[in-house]
């Protein structure tokens, strides 16, 4: 069995989520049907919605089920921008960051190309931290022209956590909607939608032990969101399409488990991550723990190895039966230097030498030990192979 240390890409489906999925796959009805069978499916689905809402810190009506993080981001970003613009044609600026996932950057670029948006990228430090002072300054000068701020809660590559509550405070003073891609964060750090003050937030099932194919946009009741996907009007008319009872119930099951064990898992994974970090630095003294001392997700360990290609390390570890990543899962099958690291002001050579080791609920001490055993040889050989540009 390979040692799986790529939980940030997707985490194994929890046995309880599989059980819920299978049980509810036996339900016959379309949850929107009026008859008894439909009502039974609807009941299971709405129980799941309430369970998820409780674990997200949202009202049940604020949960809009989607197919996953990408769809949630698209609905939120396009919908909130167009909603704000419809109310005030002066608001055309979208603030986001170069460190966002492509599922945020691409919708924002679409708005720039097709909907007249002006895109402003937030200042980010070399360790991936958001420059809040810059944001405050920018909003003080341009706040009345900003339609939307979309900034992620935790970064999927580096694990850096951003002060979303403070972003919201700055935005609220200027009447700006804030969306956060919380796909990497939800279930891995304490968070509460209601107290965050966010307008919208994206979460995804497969990062917390639900199957792939289910996510949610958490959308505040008072959000001014234009509808960008049309159909039968399910989910507040914002996300049409037949709802998948088995996937939604499995999602809620996984979310409840992840949130319930958050405190103990944070402590456990932090300890394992510390062990990993120490071992990596011992084998590779010039390696850089990329987020430095900034706050981050406990299970995400991201390193930069100078003069070394991340895909060489990945290949050698894979051959040794250890699965890690060079960053986010490569974009559409073509390896590229991480845009996240480039946006952090890192050079292309630095970005090519990145490795992300991400731990999750099923990670054992033995998994970490297996990595520690395989890493030194893999690193030494990869270092010898160097970078293709050398």
């Amino acid at each position: 069995m390979p040692v799986y240390l790529d939980h940030a890409a997707t985490t194994p489906v929890r046995p309880q989520a599989i059980e819920t999925f299978l049980r509810n796959s036996g339900l016959i009805g379309n949850p929107s049907s009026v008859h008894g069978a439909g009502q039974k499916a609807r009941q299971a689905l709405e129980e799941a919605r309430e369970l998820l809402a409780a674990n997200v810190g949202a009202h049940r009506s604020e949960i809009i089920f989607t197919a996953g993080g990408t769809e949630s981001n698209n609905l939120a970003i396009k919908g909130l921008y167009l909603g704000a613009l419809a109310k005030d044609s002066n608001r055309k600026i979208v603030i986001t960051a170069g460190t966002e996932h492509h599922a945020v950057i691409e919708p924002v670029e679409h708005l720039e190309e097709h909907e007249g948006a002006e895109v402003v990228l937030a200042k980010v430090s070399a360790q991936g931290e958001l420059d809040l002072d810059w944001l405050g300054q920018y909003l003080a000068e341009n706040g009345d022209r900003v339609a939307l701020i979309s900034l992620m809660w935790a970064n999927n590559e580096t694990g850096v956590i951003w002060p979303i509550e403070q972003v919201v405070q700055l935005a609220k003073a200027n009447g700006i909607a804030v969306h956060s891609d919380a796909v990497a964060a939800f279930g891995h750090m304490p968070m509460n939608f209601a107290s965050s003050g966010l307008t919208a937030m994206s979460i995804s099932g497969h990062k917390i032990g639900a199957p792939v194919g289910i996510g949610a946009m958490v959308l505040a009741r008072d959000a001014k969101l234009a509808v960008t996907s049309h159909g039968g009007g399910q989910e507040r008319g914002v996300r049409s399409g037949t709802l998948s009872t088995p996937l939604i119930t499995a999602f809620a099951t996984a979310a409840a488990l992840a949130v319930a064990e958050l405190e103990t898992e944070t402590a456990r994974l932090s300890r394992l991550a510390d062990k990993l970090i120490a071992a990596i630095l011992q084998a590779a003294p010039d390696a850089e723990y990329s987020r430095g001392s900034s706050a981050g997700l406990p299970g995400t360990v991201h390193f930069l190895f100078a003069g070394c290609s991340g895909d060489s390390i990945l290949f050698l570890l894979d051959a040794a039966g250890v699965s890690v990543s060079t960053g986010s899962a490569c974009r559409a099958g073509v390896a590229q230097a991480s845009h996240v690291l480039i946006a952090m002001g890192r050079t292309e050579s630095q970005a090519r030498g990145s490795i992300r080791i991400s731990l999750g609920y099923s990670t054992s001490e033995a998994d970490v030990d297996a990595f520690i055993a395989a890493f030194p040889a893999a690193y030494a050989a990869a270092k010898k192979a160097g970078l293709p540009s050398n």
């Binding site: 051959a319 073509v334 390896a335 590229q336 192979a385 160097g386 293709p388 540009s389």
Partner: protein
């Protein structure tokens, strides 16, 4: 052996990898990402570099049951192949980018990385044969499938590179045999069309692509005596031997069509003349290499055959090395050979070596 199979997503490299697996080697498939902005779907006769091609390679690797990775060589490819291609055209020369890719990417950057990561050899789907001479030295030969032979674009490999190269398709009798084999092995790429075009040039229109890259640089079209016959928008739009697109209003005195004889990028001049004036008697270049063991005697003129383009014919010549130049004297003149092209010399089917052509000597002296 631990073998890295370079898999473009085409049928040849897939079958080559399959044969390496069948020979008992431990094979890993690697697709080279050569473009930063890979297209989604394959178009025209380009054989690689789209995401669809990468997926095709991955599917083939899955069927062969071998691990598969995409390695990014886009930066190296841009500087060593694409930028070189543009610079060569700007210098009035006619480059062969596939040759550069073999020289600097597949059997240099990729091979070096492979060796450092513990591989013994790089396997490709080129049609060429590796044979061993009586002393155990490796020799590169033409493939049995003459129509598909690719020994020319591999002529740039050195003895050291040959040691770590594997060309399982060399003994193949025909391309249709490869397609049949791919089909029998359940490889979905069995019927994928052959590629001909330069992989990094969309739609296969080299002149338009070059103009986009280097811009227009107008100049004059002149004859060998210096008479101005017309104008052009950039010397990069011309290659030696070209007849079309000269847009010279006046016909030649003898009424015969005119051809590009020479490109002078410094003065922005394109020199034209009669078809007869294209005849070249001698080629020479200082950037030459030996493909395997170097010939014993390079001082005296020795008989060889020479090929100057990928699908060109093999013609009789003699060569020697003088003053740091490989000089190739053609027995019969050859029409339209341009500096920048590669001359590969053969002894029968064996590749002896190659040089990038720096200068040519016309068979027809200037009046």
């Amino acid at each position: 052996m631990k073998v890295l199979a370079a898999m473009s997503g085409g049928v040849d490299s897939a079958v080559a990898a399959a044969r390496a697996v069948e020979a008992g080697h431990e094979v890993v498939g690697v697709h080279l990402a050569l473009s930063r902005n890979a297209g989604t779907l394959r178009t025209g006769s380009r054989g690689c570099c789209t995401i669809e091609d990468s997926m095709d390679a991955q599917r083939a690797a899955n069927i062969l049951g071998i691990p598969y990775y995409v390695w990014d060589f886009s930066e190296r490819f841009k500087t060593d192949v694409v930028d070189d291609f543009i610079a060569e055209y700007q210098a009035g020369r006619t480059p062969n980018p596939c040759m550069r890719c073999n020289e600097r990417i597949k059997f240099a950057a990729l091979l070096e990385k492979a060796l450092a990561l513990g591989f013994d050899a790089v396997c490709t789907g080129h049609y060429a044969s590796l044979l061993t001479d009586a002393d155990g030295n490796l020799e590169l030969h033409r493939s049995n499938e003459v129509a598909k032979d690719q020994s020319y674009v591999l002529g740039v490999l050195t003895a050291e590179q040959l040691k770590h190269a594997m060309f399982p398709l060399g003994s193949t009798a025909s391309k249709s045999e490869i397609r049949a084999e791919a089909n029998a092995r359940g490889l979905a790429v069995a019927n994928k069309p052959d590629s001909y075009d330069i992989c990094f040039i969309p739609e296969g229109d080299t002149q338009d692509w070059l103009t986009e890259k280097v811009g227009k640089a107008p100049g004059q079209i002149v004859d060998r005596s210096g008479n101005v016959l017309g104008s052009h928008e950039g010397t990069h739009e011309f290659t030696v031997g070209q007849r079309k697109g000269l847009s010279i209003g006046r016909p030649a005195a003898d009424g015969k069509p005119r051809y590009v004889l020479e490109i002078r990028p410094k003065t922005h001049e394109v020199v034209v003349g009669s078809h007869e004036a294209l005849a070249i008697a001698e080629l020479a270049g200082s950037k030459f290499t030996w493909c395997g063991v170097a010939p014993k005697d390079t001082v005296d003129w020795s008989p060889v055959e020479v090929q100057v383009r990928a699908h060109g014919e093999q013609i009789a010549a003699e060569f020697c090395v003088r003053d740091g130049e490989m000089i190739i004297r053609l027995i019969e003149p050859l029409m339209g050979v341009a500096p920048g092209q590669t001359a590969v010399i053969y002894a029968g089917t064996r590749v002896l070596g190659q040089t990038t052509i720096d200068r040519t000597v016309s068979a027809v002296p200037v009046d």
